[in-house]
């Protein structure tokens, strides 16, 4: 019986601590420090602002972020640009509006309330422009991939020469972390690709980290509130549990039995 119990407990712990889904890649993810992990995790504001710059100067050429609005850039818990900055960012994009009173569609500079402008009209257009591959929308990308932020960070830095036994078609690249190791996106980052407005040196690693942080925020814009609220809720529940426990002991002391 004891032995059976031990086997049972071992099995249960293996069962609980193992991710129930299948991971295809053999490479362990690259390691880096994320400020948003942990009980009190918060986003690095400067990194988010740089991440937005990477998005808009590099990724936005192909990837949409259709669930984000320009107002989000100025909201608490995000990159926290000032409202003026966010307005200026929005105004640098043109959006189609209308119809006006003449029944005509017209373009105007974007406002805070507008969604991020998409690079392509529709999925078909994006496929046509990218050799048949559809660059996925990046709004929730960090939650839509197993491994989340670590996976995206690793993927961005995972481009390599293919091993000799793998033949790649035109427009297909080798990536250590991609499912099946073949990816249709060419290596998007290279050292010094952009010039950060805050003067940070734009190394590949720096840009990968900043854009991943930005994507994590866009996937989980209320992460900071969630962590803060969660801590309060759990502390409250623990204190209440202790009080209820003492009350219970007192009440049950009238009955001769153990609980």
């Amino acid at each position: 019986m004891k032995k059976l119990k031990r086997i049972f407990i071992i099995f249960l712990s293996v069962y609980l601590f193992q991710n129930h889904s299948i991971s295809a890649e053999t490479e362990p993810y690259l390691e880096t420090e994320w400020t948003f992990k942990g009980l009190f995790g918060k986003f690095d504001r400067a990194s988010l602002q740089r991440g937005y710059q990477v998005y808009t100067e590099v990724c936005a050429a192909c990837h949409s972020m259709q669930y984000l609005s320009y107002r989000n850039l100025a909201e608490q818990g995000g990159p926290e640009f000032t409202v003026e900055q966010a307005k200026a960012i929005a105004a640098s994009f043109e959006v189609l509006d209308g119809p006006n009173s003449d029944g005509e569609m017209f373009t105007r500079p974007a406002k805070l309330s507008d969604k991020f402008v998409k690079p392509y009209e529709n999925v078909e257009a994006s496929k046509a422009a990218n050799g048949g591959a559809y660059p996925p929308d990046m709004s929730v990308l960090a939650k839509a991939r197993m491994g989340g932020a670590d996976y995206i960070y690793s993927l961005l830095l995972g481009y390599d020469e293919p091993p000799e036994d793998i033949k790649l078609d035109d427009g297909v690249y080798y990536n250590k972390y991609m499912y099946g190791n073949k990816i249709k996106m060419s290596a998007p980052l290279s050292d010094g690709l952009i010039e950060y407005s805050d003067g940070t040196e734009a190394t590949k690693e720096q840009m990968a980290k900043d854009i991943t942080t930005f994507l994590m925020w866009s996937a989980e814009p209320h992460l900071e509130t969630r962590h803060k609220t969660g801590f309060r809720v759990i502390v409250y529940l623990i204190i209440l549990s202790i009080l209820v426990y003492m009350t219970m002991k007192k009440i049950w002391s009238r009955v001769e039995t153990k609980i």
Binding site: V233, I234, L237, S241
Partner: protein, 426 residues
Amino acid sequence: MSDSNYTPKSKVGKWFNDRLPLLTLANHLTDYPTPKNLNYWWTFGGILTFCLLTQIVTGLVLAMHYIADTKLAFASVEHIMRDVNYGWLIRYVHANGASMFFLAVYIHIFRSLFYGSYKSPREIIWILGIIIYLLMMAAAFMGYVLPWGQMSYWGATVITNLFSAIPLIGEGITTWLWGGYSVDNPTLTRFFTLHYLIPFLILGLVVLHIWALHVPGNNNPVGIEIKKPSNDTVPFHPYIVIKDAFALLLFSIIFAFFVFYAPNILGHADNYIEANPLVTPAHIVPEWYLLPFYAILRSVPDKLMGVIAMFSAILILVVLPWLDTSKVRSAVFRPIYKQFYWILVLDVLVLGYVGAMPAEGLYLLIARVATAYYFAHFLIVLPVLGWVEKTNPIPLSISEPVLAGSAMATRGVREEKIEVNLKSLG
């Protein structure tokens, strides 16, 4: 229901109670004599009620913002997550609440299996419970379809396709379920409607479940019938209420941990990709709580037989009270059954594990062995054990320590002890 001789003290109360005996009901619920030796495994009934109500309340709010339309569903969920005040909290409570609900129901079911709570005279409570469990699975499955992610869509496709295995009418049934020739908008809208309806059916069945429980009263860890009320029982309020509250708080701490610090760990990343009928995910897996049945389904090579095996795995529980031939309820006094019980728990966990793995090679072999064992437990082990197992002696009452010798020999001691206890209570 033993206590019908209750009369309210106030005149108004009496007037009202004569016309609608709600006060009698309230009195019954507070005074309800409960075995005093119930352990913490018995607190999961209360926890489950809490889970159901949480799902209904958060679900109502979500339904105010959700749009059941294939073109808008995914976006409306993102709208809830981003723009609705505390929408992220409500959705994460609802999504993780489903997992917590199943965690609690599995503990509740396995508690019943260990202590023989399904045996006479509690068969109806047990069967009602199985119906509730079936409805829970239906509700959870349809709820998972609503965000219209990749797993929603493909999960719905796989599960609804199971019905096409039925000979002759299968195809027709599947088309009827879909409202078309594939999972599409009509499927989504009807799943939404049913997902909204089922929790209220469950609520009704829960009332019956508790009603049926209050006729014979609770089973207990010793598994013997006790006199109620007596020295062996305590009134439900405040004793059981406070204990249930304490257990519920501990449960809530675990619940809160998932909601606030790991809200997506129990879900599948693919469900954050909008449904696309043209792209099949590499692995289609159901939520963790359905995995054991998924493993049983896949372990049978024939589709129709697989479906039959899967449904039988659940329906076999309905006849469990008659498959278990042992007169002794609690596993505490059944040394051999106790071992088989833990093997069954292990077996179900193994099934859950292989259910998440690809159905090939060693995994498939393990799934087949585990499936065979699952059915063997109910169809062979339980009936046979009832005849061959030599059970340990059972005490005559809860207050009495586990005794030596026969029932007759201890009866005198028991009566004496009750007297002493009564004196000490004053």
